[in-house]
């Protein structure tokens, strides 16, 4: 089989991401498949392949979506498929899916700019402070903010509403790490702890004006609790059967899912540090 791996130049900048990409290539080749990196100037050649694996950042408004949809229409096997991209890229849609399917998650609501006393009271009662505010299109924590009181909330949300008509508000859940559970075809592929750096509250936090990432601690997929596993399978099934990365907080009241990502990060020595077969399993999913 001939596998196209859709990438952008930035995918090769970080050495552990570059190594992971080369690992995918060598794994595919050792399994008897051709594996070629393709860039956005070759989108229209996608029908010459049997399968497409997207590693460039996905979003319905970028080139990755176009190549994904074209590939799907030409009958290729696709990771990430267009439906998963449309669903996972948008926090408003995820909010809807969580509500509809009773996924255990932080209490959350949509906000479209109603600053009346009644609406603010309502928000304080249901979500409390601090409250987490997210734009629909956030990624890498870029548009996720925490407001500690009403004044901060009004300032931050007004600013964010300049670029979007809907925001997602969530109760704040404190934790020292996020579980990251990698899912493939609705089975757990890998798991790790994405730690929150000291002095921050997000996996990627701005501390003293500098972006700091917390550590990644890989944990054997067989060792995670049944409850965590089942929660992840249930949410993954609501989206599709692709490759996903779920972020989950562990609390005294059980697990709370923060989000499901398509196109999860896979860096050499991080996500694959314990379960070493993840490249092979992904290639298998692309060719079978």
């Amino acid at each position: 089989m001939k596998i196209a791996c859709f990438v952008e130049a930035y995918n090769f900048k970080d050495s552990s991401e570059r190594s992971a990409l080369l690992r995918f290539k060598s794994t595919a080749e050792s399994m008897g498949h051709a594996f070629e990196f393709i860039f956005k100037d070759k989108i229209s050649k996608i029908q010459n392949y049997d399968a497409l694996f997207i590693r460039a950042v996905t979003d319905p408004s970028n080139s990755a979506y176009i190549v994904s949809r074209l590939a799907e229409q030409y009958g290729l096997r696709v990771i990430d498929d267009p439906h998963s991209i449309r669903t996972c890229s948008n926090k408003v849609i995820l909010h809807d899916i969580f509500m509809k399917n009773n996924i255990p998650a932080p209490k959350s609501s949509l906000f479209t700019g109603d600053y009346s006393g009644e609406a603010l009271d309502d928000m304080r009662k249901t979500l409390g402070f601090p409250v987490v505010i997210k734009t629909p299109y956030t990624r890498f924590s870029s548009h996720v903010e925490k407001a500690n009181n009403e004044e901060e909330f009004i300032k931050i949300s007004r600013h964010m509403l300049r670029k979007t008509r809907v925001l997602v508000l969530q109760e704040y859940i404190h934790s020292n790490f996020d579980w990251r559970v990698g899912m493939l075809r609705n089975e757990v592929l890998y798991s790790c702890k994405y730690c929150i750096p000291e002095g921050g509250w997000k996996v990627k936090s701005k501390i003293n004006g500098r972006n700091v990432w917390g550590d990644t601690i890989a944990v054997s997929r067989d060792s995670i609790s049944t409850e965590l596993k089942e929660t992840c399978i249930r949410l993954s099934e609501c989206v599709g059967d692709g490759l996903y990365g779920l972020d989950v907080k562990e609390t005294d009241g059980g697990y709370k899912v923060i989000e499901i990502n398509d196109n999860p990060s896979i860096y050499e020595g991080y996500e694959d540090a314990v379960d070493k077969d993840i490249h092979e399993r992904i290639i298998n999913a692309l060719v079978s």
Partner: protein, 229 residues
């Protein structure tokens, strides 16, 4: 069928209310702008989450608004399209004159006509944000028209068969189409949101009334009451 619209006064619900409620019925989402991250898009996404039929679906919206997806779908369904190319930077021999459309997340109303070989590389560079996003190039072979398509009807009589077919294939209630008319017929080049002021809202209004009338007749039939006249 429930009609959701921000633009049409006689709709059953507006998007802000609709997004906060569960959905049990099929949805007709009427908007002049279905772009990703706009209300028109969220209405369709919300309906899909609840597993009901919605016109248009999110996949249909993206298929119409992203130029390469539009052209490929049109081709598969037998519509005339130009021999388009997707470029990130000027490459190879490029036929002139040419129509350019941006394929990036930000640009709307992006059509540019380029007649001169000297200007083309600069224009591609600009529209691609310096090779960050593709640009779609369509040969200019006929007269270029911008038409507003509303439920298969056209603001231009000459293209009414064409817009009917477009609506059957793409299922987008309201949009602006860029087409060329030449000896071979009507060539589809681009689809984008219509501006509110460009839409003939009387046509939309009639359509909404037609649907409501049918819905009322069906409900009477279901209750065993024969509709008279």
């Amino acid at each position: 069928m429930i009609i959701v619209s921000e633009d049409e006064d006689d709709s059953d619900s507006n998007p802000f209310l609709f997004l906060r409620q569960p959905v049990h019925d099929s949805i007709l989402n009427i908007n002049h702008d279905y772009r990703y991250l706009r209300m028109g898009y969220y209405v369709s996404a919300h309906a899909e989450t609840f597993g009901v039929d919605v016109t248009p679906s999110c996949a249909e919206i993206m298929d119409a608004y992203r130029n390469p997806l539009l052209i490929e779908k049109a081709r598969r369904n037998g519509m005339l399209t130009g021999d388009y190319r997707l470029l990130v930077s000027p490459q190879g021999e490029l036929r002139l004159p040419v129509l350019l459309f941006a394929v990036n997340p930000f640009t709307n109303n992006s059509m540019k006509v380029v007649n001169s070989g000297e200007k083309l590389p600069g224009m591609i560079k600009k529209m691609s944000y310096d090779a960050r996003f593709p640009v779609s190039l369509h040969p200019l072979t006929g007269e270029v028209l911008e038409i507003i398509q509303i439920f298969g009807e056209s603001t231009n009589e000459e293209t009414s068969e064409f817009t009917k077919k477009f609506f059957e294939i793409f299922n987008i209630p309201i949009c602006k189409l860029v087409v060329q008319i030449d000896d071979d017929g009507i060539i589809l080049n681009h689809c984008e949101p219509a501006m509110k002021k460009e839409v003939d809202w009387d046509i939309v209004h009639d359509k909404v009334h037609e649907i409501k009338k049918k819905r009322y007749e069906n409900s009477l039939l279901c209750r065993g009451i024969q509709f008279q006249g």
